[in-house]
Structure formats: structure tokens, C-alpha cells
């Protein structure tokens, strides 16, 4: 009977320790709102830097919310969070360098195919 008492107590505690339903509903709602806004970016046909910054802002906001709250990363210990996020610097480096690379490829294609690079 001692045992059963313990289990009951544990169950109670675990119920307390899970997160309130409100927070999930809030995040859920926010995700819908952010998705709606990012859809509106296309609807109103914003162009140029404005479009890009809005797209990226909404994208990272949504991704951050999903990771932080739905995937519980916000409540995880920093050891896990850091292990997961630091490798992204390699991806960031890859993205920036490939962005520079496609500019150069486009330049050389334009130059040699259309302008005529000569010899």
C-alpha cells in the first residue's frame, strides 16, 4: 500500500509539471496568425527587400515558436539546446557562400553566353 501511495503522488506531480493547455493554444493561434501574415505578403505582392525581410521574419518566427514550444526546446536544458543549435552555423556558412556563388555563376553565364566574354 505504501507503493500505491507513491504512484498516486507521482501521477499528481506529473500532472502539475506538464505545461498548461493555454500556452499550447496561444502558440497555435500565433502560428495561424503568422502564417496568415506571410500569406498576405504574397497577396499584396510586396517586392524587393521588403518582401524578403517579411518572408524571413515570419519564417523564423514560426520556426522559433514551433521549436521552442511545440518541441519543448524552451524548457529543455541548455546542454541539449546548444548541441542542437550550434551546428547550424555550418549551414549558415554554406548558405552565405552559396549565395555568393550563385551570383558569380549568374555573372559568368551572362558574361560568357550573352555579353560575349571574348577569348
Amino acid at each position: 500500500m505504501d507503493d500505491t501511495n507513491q504512484i498516486n503522488e507521482k501521477d499528481k506531480k506529473s500532472q502539475e509539471s506538464t505545461h498548461k493547455i493555454g500556452i499550447y493554444l496561444w502558440i497555435w493561434g500565433l502560428l495561424f496568425v503568422l502564417s496568415f501574415f506571410s500569406y498576405m505578403v504574397d497577396w499584396y505582392q510586396f517586392q524587393g527587400m521588403l518582401r524578403w525581410s517579411l518572408i524571413l521574419f515570419f519564417m523564423f518566427a514560426k520556426a522559433g515558436l514551433i521549436m521552442a514550444f511545440f518541441m519543448h526546446l524552451f524548457w529543455e536544458r541548455y546542454a541539449l539546446v546548444n548541441v542542437l543549435l550550434w551546428p547550424m552555423t555550418a549551414i549558415a556558412c554554406f548558405v552565405f557562400l552559396m549565395a555568393a556563388e550563385f551570383e558569380y555563376t549568374l555573372f559568368s553565364r551572362m558574361f560568357y553566353f550573352f555579353v560575349g566574354g571574348g577569348v
Partner: protein, 237 residues
């Protein structure tokens, strides 16, 4: 949260906590189930897969001298006789986020040992995923009908079709695998595999536990996460 303890080890918050966790024996991620740690690392690896796909897409799209089709027009859908840009995509996003929300709640109810609620929510997630796959199939068939092929399309650069089918296909495969597992796990929850100490699962000698729902949830949220990036880069760019 006040400082919790784990077996004679004080769990400090923040970066101090990280230092002491890293310096401790036995486990580095304190209190994290093996399977959950494994799923996280797998997702990290999978993130690199999708990142490479998207980087390749960026490189391909950025360097083509041929005009890239305007996604806003290509993916428009007629509603009440008016072409609405990206209507189907918006619906797909809606469905996927909805299923992500039900999954998050399923995890919560799982930890509260609310078997019924958890099971129904996992099932709802599975149905949401299935809807998404169905809509994607519709989108694919519509594009194929319009003449878009992986090797050519009537709107512009051939790479448009190649990248579109490859990346959404790879994402769709992830969703489909997720849907299969969601159905299996919905059954497992309803059958009570996680109750009373748990039943031994396959692939492992470990006893079942509601943490498995969280692991499955991680995968499902990741699929949603990838969609956020695909949505931004493929449909809005």
C-alpha cells in the same frame, strides 16, 4: 523552475547548468530519454539533408539566366471563378499547423496519462497528415496536368519542376512515413501499451512509455518546421 535535482546532482539552470551537465558523469542531457535524444540528433542530421536540398535550390534558382516561373501564378487556384494565388498552399499550411497543434496537445495529455484524450489527438494528427498528403497529391497532379515535369515545364526554367518535385516529394515522403507511424502509435496508445509500466516495444528492449509520444511528436513538428521553410522559400520567393 526552482533547482531540481537528479540523483544527487543539482540541476542548475542556464549556461551554468550546461557547464555542470557537460562536466558530469553518466548523462550529458540530464533526464532526457535515450530515444528522445536519438530523435533529436536524427532530426539534426535530417535538418542538414533539407538544408542541402534548399541550398541546392537556392543555387540553382539564383544562377539560372532563364526566367523562373512566378510561383504566385503557377500555384494559383480558381475559387468561385477568381484565381486566388497560393490558395491550396495556404490550406495545406493550415492543415499541417493544425495537426502540429493536435500533436502538441497529444504529448501533453500523454504525460498526464490521459489515455483516451492522447489517443484521439494522435489519431486527429494522423488524419491531418493524411489530408496534407492528399492535398499534395492533388497539387502534383494539377501541375503535371498543366505540363510541369521534373525535366521541363511550360513556364520557364526547367529546374523549377526538378526542384519542386524533388523537395516537396522528399518532404511528402517524410509526412507519409509520419502518418504511418501516427496510426501505429494511435493504436498503441488506445491498446494501452504505455499503461501500467509499459509493454515492450519492437526495435528495443525498453518498456513503452508516453515519452514515445513526445518522440513521435518531435518528428511530426519537424515535418511542420520543414514545411515552414519550404513555404517561405518555394512559394513566397
Amino acid at each position: 523552475m526552482s533547482d531540481p535535482k537528479i540523483d544527487g546532482f543539482e540541476l542548475k539552470p542556464g549556461f551554468r547548468g550546461m557547464a555542470s551537465d557537460t562536466g558530469s558523469d553518466q548523462t550529458m542531457f540530464k533526464g532526457v530519454h535515450w530515444g528522445k535524444a536519438m530523435m533529436w540528433i536524427f532530426l539534426l542530421s535530417d535538418t542538414f539533408v533539407f538544408s542541402c536540398f534548399l541550398i541546392a535550390y537556392m543555387k540553382g534558382r539564383g544562377s539560372t539566366p532563364v526566367e523562373w516561373p512566378n510561383p504566385s501564378e503557377v500555384f494559383a487556384l480558381e475559387a468561385f471563378g477568381v484565381p486566388v494565388p497560393l490558395l491550396l498552399i495556404a490550406l495545406m499550411t493550415f492543415v499541417l499547423i493544425t495537426s502540429s497543434g493536435t500533436m502538441a496537445l497529444a504529448v501533453k495529455y500523454g504525460y498526464e496519462k490521459n489515455r483516451k484524450m492522447c489517443g484521439w489527438l494522435v489519431l486527429a494528427t494522423a488524419i491531418g497528415g493524411l489530408t496534407f498528403v492528399g492535398m499534395q497529391a492533388y497539387e502534383w497532379s494539377k501541375l503535371i496536368h498543366e505540363g510541369v515535369r521534373p525535366w521541363e515545364n511550360p513556364f520557364g526554367a526547367a529546374q523549377f519542376g526538378s526542384f519542386f518535385f524533388m523537395i516537396t516529394g522528399f518532404h511528402g515522403t517524410h509526412v507519409s512515413i509520419g502518418v504511418i507511424f501516427l496510426f501505429i502509435y494511435a493504436y498503441k496508445v488506445f491498446a494501452g501499451h504505455y499503461e501500467n509500466g509499459g509493454k515492450r516495444g519492437w526495435f528495443t528492449t525498453m518498456k513503452g512509455d508516453y515519452v514515445e509520444i513526445e518522440i513521435l511528436g518531435l518528428y511530426w513538428h519537424f515535418v511542420d518546421l520543414v514545411w515552414v521553410f519550404i513555404f517561405a522559400f518555394f512559394y513566397l520567393w
